[in-house]
């Protein structure tokens, strides 16, 4: 029996990989969340179609399990049912994107409460709670506009730090450097740009820019990791575009695999 190829991440990219790979090889599709769809959500019409498609091809779904380690063709999976080393012929990492961190942006200053990644703000705002009176949303990532919209709906004033956001009450261009001020809770951010220094008072900061690939499988973090194909493109943003881009990546890998 041929060992399977492992695809981690059951969003549009992972589903796109599985849709191609499962026609030629056994595929195990893994996601730490117990439902497919990734950030797009399981009830999206396109996602439902992709899920049906990959299931028909015999893809084995392992949802609610986390890929922990990649070591010479073996993948360690853990879930509430147990842990298992899966022997594979290759690993596709399709774990999506996360917003840039303070360190990614070289942000210094204080480290008060009230500064959160956009992915976290989304969850908290979905709880319907008005978190802040004035929030600074930094960056133009896919989370920025939705977070700004949910926060405004709850009565929060929105300040964007972005070169082209049209969803804010106030906008500042991206600075050369910025820092955070505030001891217990955030009190503002300090933007240093060509025009000088601007202090922007606020009571919340959301990090919503410069998407970076989420990499959290030990041994499959850095570009060039042996046996690993990373499918975490910055564009296109739409589910169908991502699905197709992942199909292309999987086809390229499959050609090399079948020739080799």
């Amino acid at each position: 029996m041929t060992a399977p190829v492992a695809v981690v991440g059951a969003g549009p990219s992972g589903l796109g990989c599985a849709a191609v790979l499962a026609a030629a090889l056994p595929v195990v599709l893994i996601d730490r969340i117990p439902i497919p769809g990734g950030t797009v959500g399981w009830d999206n019409r396109e996602i439902r179609g992709y899920v049906t498609q990959v299931r028909r091809l015999g893809t084995r779904m392992r949802l609610g399990e986390t890929a922990l380690r990649w070591d010479a063709g073996r993948l360690l999976l853990a879930g509430p049912g147990g842990a298992e080393w899966l022997h594979t012929v290759g690993l596709f990492v399709a774990c999506g994107l996360r917003p840039a961190t303070l360190a990614d942006w070289r942000v210094t200053g204080d480290r008060p409460a009230g500064v959160v990644p956009a992915t976290v703000a989304e969850h908290l705002l979905q709880a319907g709670v008005r978190l802040w009176a004035t929030v600074v949303v930094v960056g133009d990532g896919p989370w920025a506009a939705p977070v700004a919209r949910s926060a405004r709906r709850l009565g929060t004033r929105i300040i964007a730090v972005s070169d082209h956001a049209d969803w804010a009450d106030e906008r500042h261009p991206r600075p050369k450097q910025w820092s955070i001020t505030g001891r217990d809770r955030v009190a503002g951010i300090r933007l240093e740009g060509e025009a000088g220094v601007t202090e922007v008072p606020c009571d919340g900061v959301v990090l919503a820019g410069d998407p970076a690939p989420a990499r959290n499988i030990d041994g499959a973090v850095l570009p060039g990791a042996a046996g690993v194909t990373f499918v975490q493109p910055l564009t296109p943003p739409d589910p169908a575009g991502r699905f197709r881009a992942a199909q292309d990546a999987a086809r390229r890998w499959l050609r090399t695999y079948q020739e080799g």
Partner: protein
Amino acid sequence: MSSHPAPAGEVDVAVIGGGVLGTAVAARLSRTTASVCLLEAENDVCEGASKGNAGVAVAYYGPPGTQETALINASSPHWEELCARLSVPYRRTGAVMVALDDDEAVRLEHTHEEIRACGSRAERLTPRQVREAEPLVTDRCVAGLLMPDEGVIDPMALTAAYASLAAVNGAAIRLGSPVTEVTATADGRLRVTTGTATVTARFVINAAGVSAGHISRLAGGEPLDYWPRKGQYAVLDRAFAQRLSRIVFSTHTAATKGVNVVPTTHGSALLGPTATDHRDPGDTSTDPETIESVIRSAARLVPAITAGYVIKYFAANRPASDEQHRLRFDTRVPGLLHCTNRSAGVSISPAAADYVLELLTAAGLDASPCRGAADSLPPAPRLRTAADPGQLIRHDPLFGQVVCACEHVSAAEINRALQGPVPAVSVDGVRKRTGAAYGRCQGSLCMAGISFMTAMHTGAGPATVRQTARGTVGS
């Protein structure tokens, strides 16, 4: 449990300060018949210097002949045993100290002599031997020392474990209790007033770190000068740190011990610290110039270090003072015992706690060993470092529910942090105890989950849940 709980507000010993020294003392006293209460100004233990340090349990700090060195020597051989008992991550990695030019080689030889004079071990290495001991060290290295007894520890887990042991043995842990007044009573006791309660004690331990001068002043004790010495640090990703096997020390100068490269028990690496004296203990800000200099200095020792591996910066203040190590009774106020250290608090903590008990007993405290007192904590297994993750999960399926995707911290570990004898009350408290949200995505994937779990356990809502010990997520 302590065999004779004291009446509310009356204890034999009140410990002021929930850092590594205060909690170590409280844990030690909790295993005796003396009653003890720990008062901490912040809403969690380990909120000052004990949370912001390089995580090295040193075997040598120097100079020789001091009480500090004696306490380090008395503590160092026992870390494996102590950390196994308290379920605290510790690894005796050994260290290499690296000289990069002839001047440094001369100073290195002085340090070598001092290490020997202190009673610790070191071995002179050729550049080639240095790189065999730690292959990541620069080939510009001209000489080195191997210091086999140095090790890395999780200082936050250690502090939380000391506090937990104290609590398990019946010590009262009062958090969010800044001391506002210390007065002598007519019968020779000390009355300590906090924002929330009043405690009368026969002895008061001043383990308030950078605030120790303030506490002494409140009590009418000696005028002690303490000021914050800020250290800035950068944390490096496991992708780099997994290749680092030992601590890499820079050669000491007369003024500073310099920037070091330290593998952490979480699998990351720490660069730092810097040392800047200032006057505002609440200032733990970082600045770009200093952080760049930290990375640059570290990269001189280990050229594989680049800014691209940095996942976090932070700063913390250690208690600088005219008396670098102060473990003695106040000369003015009977019953007031100062217990502070400039930088080696973690490394002296086990022996310092024993010594405090000796001093108190000699001063008349009745503290015999308490039969049945716990001297260990239940094992605190971690999914990430488990030899057999499957066995953990069979025992408790929540070990298979990974919440922090980068650091592989499970729901079982987070629940334990939120339910322990001194539970986390904030997202940061969970991080301090488990390492969750400490990885390369800095909570992007897990902080919502941890917030909700913390909110559930503390009875807060999504906006009012604490992100740090001091501040809430929402305003």
